[in-house]
Symmetry: C2
Subunit: 368 residues, 2 copies
């Protein structure tokens, strides 16, 4: 046990979690509220309303689920996949693979549509994969590769299918328009561009998807039919006890969303865009090669190839020990050949760009 150990202060420039907004920290330790307290219920309502703004939706059923982003993925699938459903999954990274795994566990007939890691999905390929799928799934911002996928094109061509999308790394960091893009079910996480500690999954589902839902899913914890009353969306606003809301985390999310909307969603998106562009330019000026395809690079999460003759793990260890900076390794076959550098939320600012570029240059030189 290390009760008196010095507190380690990291610059979290990996794929998440990122450093939190000071407002989110302050709210995390306001005196704890009960989950049925009228003050908390108001904060929860306001949180759901602010989430609607970030999602770009009017969906009544919009709330922070009491789990991490991966729990949000589980909630999306367990409520919508009926045994035997045809589920088309666009896969160009780890999180697309995971979607296919979840659908398969629930008895779906999964139709995977693969494209190369580092390249975006081809919407036409995905839409042509099956004549009448029940659900089409895609990841908006692939955390494993730093690639943006065009989910709006899927919404435009989905026909009668539901469109189910992952926004763990996109929400709050890039343009997002659930209603305009034809998205029916979507989930996210708090620990990336929202700059809140990990532990909640912002979630939204429209009436169309809710009406087709699994009536009594194998999951009780994520059963949206029960969760409606939890946030007052159903039953005429009457609250019904489902589970104890993680009140401290919700209040922290409330504070971060307030901060984001006070800065302005467009300004926040522009801040991510500027930081990402400056980082990507700086990396290329250092002679490094970006991994994600041009035109589809995420500003909030940059992937870059580890130069020949450089040991990825040594560089990451040097960054951690010398500068207390965390960056991410690649995933799967790119574990040793790609770095993932996130500038998300509170870290999407010029100071972070200067710091990570300077530190990385020194780390590469020192470990060669």
């Amino acid at each position: 046990m290390t009760p008196d150990a010095p507190l380690i202060d990291r610059s979290l420039f990996g794929p998440g979690p990122t450093n939190t907004y000071p407002e989110a920290d302050a709210a995390l330790v306001r005196p704890l509220l009960g989950h049925l307290d009228p003050v908390f219920i108001q904060l929860m309502d306001e949180t759901c309303e602010m989430l609607r703004t970030l999602w770009g939706t009017t969906n009544a059923r919009t709330l922070p689920l009491s789990a991490t982003g991966s729990g949000g993925m589980e909630a999306a699938f367990v409520n919508t996949v009926h045994r035997g459903d045809v589920v088309v999954v666009a896969i160009n990274g780890l999180f697309g693979q995971r979607m296919a795994e979840l659908a398969s566990r629930l008895g779906a007939r999964v139709v995977p549509v693969e494209s190369e890691w580092g390249r975006p999905l081809d919407p036409d390929d995905v839409l042509r994969a099956h004549p009448s799928p029940a659900i089409i799934c895609a990841v908006h911002a692939e955390t494993s590769t730093g690639v943006r996928n065009d989910v709006a094109a899927l919404g435009a061509g989905k026909g009668d299918a539901l469109l189910l999308t992952d926004h763990v790394t996109s929400i709050g960091g890039m343009p997002l328009a659930v209603d305009d893009w034809g998205i029916d079910v979507a989930y996210a996480g708090t620990q990336k561009c929202l700059s809140v500690a990990p532990g909640l999954a912002p979630f939204t589902i429209n009436d169309r998807a809710f009406e087709r839902r699994v009536e009594r899913p194998t999951s009780w914890y994520f059963d949206l039919g029960l969760l409606g009353g939890y946030v007052g969306g159903d039953a005429g606003g009457k609250r019904t006890y489902h589970h104890t809301a993680p009140t401290a985390m919700v209040v922290s999310l409330h504070a971060a969303l307030t901060r984001i909307l006070s800065e302005g969603l467009d300004a926040v998106t522009a801040r991510h865009e500027a930081a990402g562009a400056a980082l990507q330019e700086g990396l290329q000026e250092m002679g490094l090669e970006l991994f994600a395809a041009e035109g589809y690079r995420l500003p909030q999460l940059t992937t870059v190839r580890v130069p020949d003759g450089v040991d990825s793990a040594k560089v990451r260890a040097y960054l951690l020990q010398t500068f207390s900076i965390e960056i991410g390794a690649g995933i799967g076959e790119f574990a040793d050949s790609v770095w993932r550098i996130g500038l998300m939320g509170h870290n999407a600012q010029p100071r972070s760009v200067a710091l990570v570029l300077g530190a990385l240059k020194q780390a590469i030189a020192a470990t060669r």
Copy 2:
């Protein structure tokens, strides 16, 4: 939005959440750590080790799940219930009912063994309910009624069955001995006697139950086969990425457990015992009648009948408005006729007893 609203400071004397330990608050806002940071991994390991002490187990697979206590319940069932299994569930309150619901959703043949709310389960009835159940389930401390159930007697007589038990309200507040009592699978929550914010589910499962588990459960998020690597229990201590751990919450739990073990587990249990006894004596001296059966009353959560002619809701509103004190209503048919008063964790101290007794007396008089 209420960014500048005054912070409300409650005395949380309901059935949970309770007020947090100051140590847990301080840790909640230490600079955020990444979930793969070596410093965090050490804190996670220590957290699991301290949880073993609180559970009274040597189970390797002991960890805080990334969900609230209800998520812990889901993990317990989804990993152990095979379709068609006979599952005996002792029911004498809401959480026993919920266990039956979860088992049923997973295709179990549920054998409910009901006893009156406010009375303990009869271990002989439960053990005689079926000649060869796959699983026997019970709630150690029924949050809905304030009753202690004798789960050790079930462990002694379970035969080949697995014993699966709920400790959301018992862990850290009363004696608990998973290994000695023959418990195979158990879950809890952080927001009661551990005095941490809600959001994590301490969990433990022994080898016997793990070997009989569902190999590919419908839940990916709670799949213990995957979670082993997440905390290093399997795969020779090698970490595998599963989901992003809620690092702030885990570090807060670490601080609370350190505090509890530094005070001494026996001393903490005795503190709960003394506070509960003083509260129950004080309530009876006021002429109120306790609800839970004598000999089976939880010290950490007292249930008391609302006196004739007293309006339960008015009293609770008066307590909230006048004293910023939260107590709980009853559940189900006892919603208006029972109060639930918790003195858990940081609130299990003489100051809380004096406060709640004095405030309740005044609230009853003022609202009559």
